[in-house]
Symmetry: C2
């Protein structure tokens, strides 16, 4: 459909067109917005200026924020225009000089993140953690099926894929110990998640209904919410996770537009009890995204996002139900994506059942939690039109030893 | 000491010199940095340009962030320069045209807040809440005396003093009810707190020791962390407060420089057990700040910040112990300041003991939680040099009814 000669199995085809921030100069001084297409980045900052697109200047920014702030009409117009450039042979000569092989660019954090909220929207994940941590109680807390539980995370430590993750130090208390000790986390974990980026802001005091999801949310990325389980379990009562989560959260560099996921929309699982009216689905916004988790290149899990109890539209409605405003650049993530099967769990604490059942990797080595030097990569695919696949690229991070160990 | 004729009882004297963002034009188009002195704002943006201060351009910004990012050497130089202007009669003629009566300016949110963290650093407050919510357990959780408990709040809903607060709607479940209901909060509360603004950023993976507090923290403000207790108590297990706190957090418009609080430094209360080494006090950073809480103009509490268990230097060291980086504009607050006496409690839930013992106001009316139309004002004073008082101005907010009630 495009005049470009793309590999047949590319997941960055003409129906995807994710946005990112790239540079070609040393030190990233020339950051600008690009669109991934096959093995290339289309330099839309340069192309839009050449072709006199009326919003050309917003593509020369160092983050997607100004573009995301334009709202869905501009998002659609720009997407249509980029599609035209890559489909109509008339544009071939103008476009070709602005295609750069992705091997030759650096990718950067695509957005300046405003507030970061992390949810807990997988029933399988919440039940697994309940069984591991509170074996004598009901696995779900009484509120769980009434509202998408969430909390604010640290926006300032969100890093782009490829950034090394320093093993955090912190207080952790062994069950048998009477006092906590300070040192490097011994239960360093991943959380495989899907993230949603807000483009259109909202006003303080004005809740955003479930029906306005696509008006506000610009696109979707992958999130690895690194978690130090030992630090978290000592600190989190009563005010929730803090240092167990604040040292790093990695996101994928390519933001897949919501428009690219129309074929991935599916019905959410049945909910019982029925959610309160402000959380009732009007249009289905569950998404058939399948994640893959690799540890040092070896596949260890395939978490299915379609199995999530709460949809991103419900999370958005809940987040704003009390009147909290949205800002361009707000990022909210699903929480760990886990399916019902053991090989669909999105965290090592589930895969190793709290560290009691080491996971055997395809190469025969075993893991409970992450070792220094381990590299974790998340990828994901969703169905696109005409049997094509929409890819999300990857979010990758390697553990390096504590500085102050 | 200044050539300006100031009221003898001003708390914005020559030893204070707090910074804020003000405007004089309609709609606030001409926002810039000013310094409060007596009943005036000194337009340092204009004055610094006139007097060719080398960093003059940073005062024409719409927030304090660029100035705060300069670090303590510049903060001290600028403070010394402003003191000179207001003390040396030689500068009188140059300075006078840039003094504007505070009645004639609008004040704005002084900073673009990066991450917002709220602590829980008052032992009296934590014990009171423990007794109210968990009467059959120990009032403090086992971790409380080992680490300053904190969590991330919503930075995007931090508003400046004077902004109305819309009563939030949300899910709350009556004890006797089997299901939650959605509607306006019926237990809307205040939290009287002290906030600390980070100027100098730090690197990801590099903890900031307690000894570096004054290198990173630029100044201090008052915080009212409005809280919907019914929404909070239903949602907060297991991941902490979310919508119960995210609808609004009000801060005072004047940021008192840390340098102005040297005479307010006192020894913190004794700690038992001794904190882990990374949390040990080197210099005393407890601060003798006395807050006053007024409801519709009537004094209801005088919370003493000096009684806090954890100091702001310890909170900063803890927040970064896992390697989390600081950004210019990070705000962290103490949590509710409560003293040992009943009239030193910094929240209505404590003052009315969970709503069971209505508070009688000086005018004879009673309150458990806030009614629509109620206006809450926090002020505070600290000792300055030569028997003078350092004031913090005020943080004020009025409750307006829910939009979707």
């Amino acid at each position: 459909m495009t005049w470009l000669d793309l590999p047949a199995d590319t997941t960055f085809g003409i129906h995807n067109l994710p946005y990112g921030i790239f540079s070609t100069a040393p030190h990233g001084h020339d950051r600008r917005i690009g669109v991934a297409i096959g093995p290339y980045v289309l330099d839309i900052a340069a192309l839009a200026a050449d072709l006199r697109l009326h919003v050309a200047d917003i593509f020369a920014e160092q983050t997607l924020n100004r573009f995301m702030a334009q709202g869905p009409t501009t998002w659609s117009e720009v997407r249509q225009r980029i599609t035209d450039w890559l489909v109509s042979p008339a544009h071939r000569a103008a476009v070709l000089p602005h295609l750069i092989r992705r091997d030759n660019v650096q990718l950067h954090l695509p957005v300046s993140v405003a507030d970061y909220v992390d949810f807990y929207a997988s029933q399988h994940h919440a039940e697994n953690l309940g069984r591991i941590f509170r074996p004598d109680s009901a696995p779900l807390t009484p509120n769980w099926k009434h509202l998408p539980i969430g909390y604010h995370g640290r926006a300032g430590t969100i890093v782009v894929s490829g950034t090394d993750v320093v093993r955090p130090c912190g207080q952790r208390k062994a069950l048998a110990a009477s006092e906590p000790a300070f040192g490097p986390s011994q239960r360093l974990d991943i959380e495989a998640e899907v993230g949603f980026l807000v483009g259109t802001p909202s006003k303080l005091g004005a809740p955003v209904p479930v029906t306005d999801f696509a008006t506000h949310v610009f696109g979707v990325c992958l999130v690895n919410d690194w978690s130090a389980r030992d630090i978290q379990s000592w600190e989190y009562v009563p005010l929730g996770p803090f240092l167990g989560k604040s040292f790093a959260t990695s996101i994928s560099p390519w933001i897949v537009p919501l428009d690219a996921l129309q074929h991935a929309r599916v019905q959410p699982p049945p909910r019982d009890p029925a959610p309160l009216p402000y959380l009732r689905d009007v249009e289905p916004w569950a998404l058939d995204i399948t994640l893959e988790v690799r540890l040092n290149g070896q596949l260890i899990s395939r978490p299915p996002y379609a199995a999530m109890y709460w949809t991103p539209a419900q999370m958005l409605a809940h987040m704003t139900a009390g009147g909290a405003s949205l800002r361009t650049g707000d990022l909210y993530a699903s929480g760990t994506v886990s399916g019902s099967a053991t090989n669909q769990r999105g965290s090592l604490i589930e895969l190793s059942w709290g560290g009691t059942e080491p996971l055997t990797l395809p190469d025969g080595t075993q893991r409970t939690f992450l070792l220094d030097g381990d590299e974790v990569t998340l990828t994901a695919n969703a169905p696109g039109p005409h049997g094509r696949t929409i890819g999300f690229g990857e979010v990758r991070g390697r553990i390096v030893s504590s500085v102050s160990a």
